[in-house]
Symmetry: C2
Subunit: 218 residues, 2 copies
């Protein structure tokens, strides 16, 4: 390869514009934030499916695909990486661990967006500062903060995993909305008022918004 | 959204097969491993460009796009996240930090692969155990380990960043190939013998291999 290793390849880099042209839409991060059981994952997956049917490239990032790998807890790392490693790098539930959890997801979502993909993230992400840091790392029009605004009474009535019940009983500490704050976005790109709406209708609201922003073709 | 939050959305999940059908090829991780200045990033970027021209979806993960975000060092985190956070989560150069560096890249590459994208990673990744762990997390035929086999004499003669020189002078400790081992893959999917070949020719070797494996269409 001669001695010009660091000279030639920059000419070969595929620009973001080119990837987006290939896909027929822009890359971005659709950041869904809201209480536990507010419907974030449901909306993200329905949206993902609709985008797929439209021939768009998208990817959902949620607990299902990051909790056991990217953001694995100590218990998941101890067998493969040893105790010292697991203790050092396994993510727990302390405030600082949660901050790192969200930081990494933001970094990965950014990589997907740079690849021309519409990254759909579905995490409670209760703290405004954490979300704002991700926004600052992205380009203008690249971070679409979507507040999934479901009243806590409704979330608690659903309680699909019995988490609210456990939090009320004091069995889970630091549960968002019970004994830890949820900080709603100050200026989200979109608010989804979910009560009495289907996930399909809510996903359509996001699609309309992405069209209006020029992320999806008209 | 009613009370069936966790029931309905599984019907809406976009399978990996569907994403791959949309793209016209399979997702996978092409893991380039080799010495510093062996040509990994150059080959990855030329390959990425060729795949783009073929209408395939690919993404390069290398130091350029993970070092300042996903795997940021303490110095990069201190301003935004505070000293305690930076100390706890910033990745340094200790053996354990390098292991975590590679672990995270493996996790992100896997997410891209699951999204139907051909992830091209370009990291020295000198330890066999680290690479093998990533392989184990992936499906058969999903991890394509490519040994970029450039003689150290040639890498050192290139030395585009002067790192070998510093390592020889003892200014950098634990430098792969000088005072830290490089463990070549025991059974890589592909070996690139780079001496006297252009990056274009080497990228073509990878493309031929991906066709033979059925990852790219014939």
């Amino acid at each position: 390869m001669g001695n010009d290793t660091n000279v030639t390849w920059h000419d070969h880099q595929v620009s973001r514009d080119k990837r987006e042209s290939l896909n027929g839409h822009k890359g971005c991060v659709v950041w869904l934030t809201g209480l536990s059981a507010s419907g974030k994952s449901t909306i993200a997956n329905v949206l993902d499916h609709k985008l797929y049917q439209m021939g768009m490239r998208s990817m959902v990032l949620d607990g299902d695909n990051v909790r056991h790998s990217l953001n694995a807890g100590p218990g998941m790392l101890v067998d493969t990486h040893g105790e010292t490693f697991a203790k050092r790098f396994g993510l727990g539930f302390a405030a600082i661990d949660r901050e790192e959890n969200i930081r990494r997801i933001g970094a990965v979502a950014q990589l997907f967006s740079q690849a021309g993909v519409i990254a759909l993230t579905a995490f409670i992400s209760p703290y405004r500062a954490d979300r704002d840091r991700i926004r600052k790392n992205l380009e203008p029009n690249e971070f679409i903060e979507v507040f999934v605004n479901t009243p806590i009474e409704l979330c608690e009535a659903r309680d699909p995993k019995g988490l609210y019940k456990k939090a009320r009983a004091g069995e889970i500490k630091g549960f968002t909305g019970i004994d830890d704050p949820y900080e709603p976005p100050a200026a989200p790109e979109l608010v989804l008022e979910t009560a009495d709406k289907t996930a399909e209708a809510l996903a359509d609201e996001v699609i309309v918004h992405l069209r209006e922003r020029g992320i999806l073709p008209a």
